[in-house]
């Protein structure tokens, strides 16, 4: 009351500061894209690399046929991006295949079978897993898990897409678990009661009533987990082996899009072709996660509207 103009000014400041998140998203896109521009405008960059050279197989001296090769630091720099794409796909697929059953199963147990008291203990424990820094998961995969996996499966390569995918799954599980558990818990009690009244057993109710009702939320959870998996860097950088070879096997050493940026950006000439290509990869990662997250958040909003409307 004493100084209304000061109150008013603070309120305006709050309003302005609330725009920071919007500004941040726009600035991230603009400034990552800005460093990508020379790829389309600079003739010096285009002499070495163009979009078609990145995406199409090229005839390189020393190779028999047209091939996709990622060798940015060599006599003739080669920027075939396909091996990195396939690498990301391999690691992400392994991670999702491991993480989805684990996370959905754990969420099912916690939301359907655990007592209230047990749930209050189990949820924070899984959230603690989310708190482990990805560099620690990468360290664990590199130092401990790699040897176990190599001995168990008798592998040639200590580091592989399989190893990175398993470690990555540990980072993705808590994300899927939390959203999934919320979605399963939001299924109206009346559904379960109706199903039980019709004579369904507990497992029939869960699989045929609870899971389908929560499916938009589960889909959103998986989308969010997937978004995290394609962009995660440190785990993959440390555990995948980083060989940029085009191969379909998950047992081979593999390099992903995110790890390529992390491993190579520190040693490139600012503004040069290699630098530009790495920012191009960054823009791709941004656009991919942006669209995946948009789909995920739209699905969650719909779910909330649907469940909320019936309560």
């Amino acid at each position: 009351m004493s100084r209304p103009w000061l109150h008013r000014a603070t309120e305006v400041a709050i309003h302005v500061m609330a725009g920071t998140a919007i500004a941040a998203v726009i600035l991230i896109f603009v400034f990552v894209a800005r460093e990508t521009l020379p790829l389309f405008t600079s003739s010096a960059v285009q002499e070495e690399v163009t979009l078609s050279k990145m995406w199409l197989a090229q005839l390189w001296p020393g190779y028999d046929g047209a091939e996709h090769v990622w060798q940015p630091v060599s006599e003739i720099p080669k920027y075939g991006i396909l091996p990195l794409f396939v690498g990301t796909l391999k690691v992400t697929s392994v991670a999702m295949l491991v993480a989805i059953p684990l996370a959905v199963g754990a969420a099912l147990f916690v939301s359907q079978y655990a007592s209230h008291r047990l749930r209050e203990i189990l949820k924070p424990v899984v959230e603690l897993l989310a708190g482990i820094p990805s560099v620690v998961l990468g360290f664990f995969a590199l130092i401990v898990l790699a040897s176990w996996l190599q001995d168990a499966l008798d592998l040639d390569s200590r580091l592989s897409a399989l190893l990175a995918g398993i470690a990555l799954a540990l980072a993705v599980v808590p994300i899927i678990f939390t959203v999934c558990e919320e979605a399963l818990g939001a299924v109206p009690r009346s559904y379960v009661e109706a199903s039980t009244a019709l004579g369904a057993r507990r497992w029939q109710t869960i699989l045929l009533v609870v899971l389908p009702s929560a499916s938009p939320g589960i889909a959103a959870a998986i989308a969010l987990g997937f978004g995290r998996a394609i962009g995660e860097t440190m785990i993959v950088l440390m555990a995948s082996g980083n060989a940029a070879i085009l191969s379909g096997s998950v047992l081979d050493s593999t390099r992903t899009l995110s790890a390529t940026i992390a491993a190579e950006l520190a040693e490139v000439v600012f503004g040069g072709p290699h630098y530009t290509v790495l920012f191009f990869i960054g823009s791709l990662l941004f656009l991919m996660t942006f669209s995946v997250n948009l789909v995920g958040s739209i699905a969650t909003a719909r779910l909330k509207a649907k469940v909320g409307g019936r309560r």
């Binding site: 709050i14 500061m17 959905v104 147990f109 482990i132 962009g231 860097t233």
Partner: protein
Amino acid sequence: MKLKLKRTKRNALGDIALILASALALLLVIGSLAVIVIDVGIHGYERLSWAFLTESPDNGMMGGGIFPAIVGTTAMVFLMTLAGVPIGVATAVYLHEYAAPDSRFAKLVRIAVQNLAGVPSIVFGLFGLGFFIQWVGPGIDRFLLGGARMFGQPGILWASLTMAVLTLPVVIVATEEALSNVPNSVREAAFALGATKFQVVATVVVPQSLAGILTGGILAVSRGAGEVAPLLFTGAAYFLPELPSRFSDQFMHLGYHVYVLSTQSPDVDATQPILYATVLVLLALVFMLNLTAMVARSRMRRHFA
């Protein structure tokens, strides 16, 4: 309401199978957490000592301690909090206290926060390099420092600001949850006493939400201590003989130190004890912060329940 149904064998098996399968999934998740914690705890404890926490690395990273990394992490996290928390709290206050239910701006802010949370950490690193180091920094150098190259290069200020943007959604989400825990009756009581909107927010709602705001800050700090990818090109250093003393100095960071020791050691076996001890310190720090945040949050929920 329990109904007696005709028990068939197949149906009883279905119940057992589902409960076992879901319990197994949960056990595997918790088991992997336990394996990591136990492995790091056992191996890390051997090398841990007071000297390890208070000495600099020596002998080409194969001896000494991690003091500069602890100081660097603390300084970075402090600057990050200073920059990020006020903006995060203001955003949450706007969204929860001021925005009209059908406000388009508020809707846009929410979408932006959600998307910001999903941007890969390595892209934040590219942003920090492209925006702060390549654009803002050189601008400061040119117009304020007369061309001396100081801010146009990686340093602790740029790393902290990049990390502040990365942790913004954490602060916003936690603060908003805290604000929504304050009952409307409290606001109405304050209005009934003749308080203005601003007075209600500043003297009633925000003080009541302090625990939640603190939770957001703690979670952001925990994230900042462990996240490495955004620091790779914005200011984290492999090894520095001196502690950072200016905003433009580079710094050592616990998470980055783990990465460096894991991947760039000339002698893996000699480095391993130090590596494990560093991971233990980082993990203990992060877990302590997360547990504090969890306790604060559940207390807060109970307070208004």
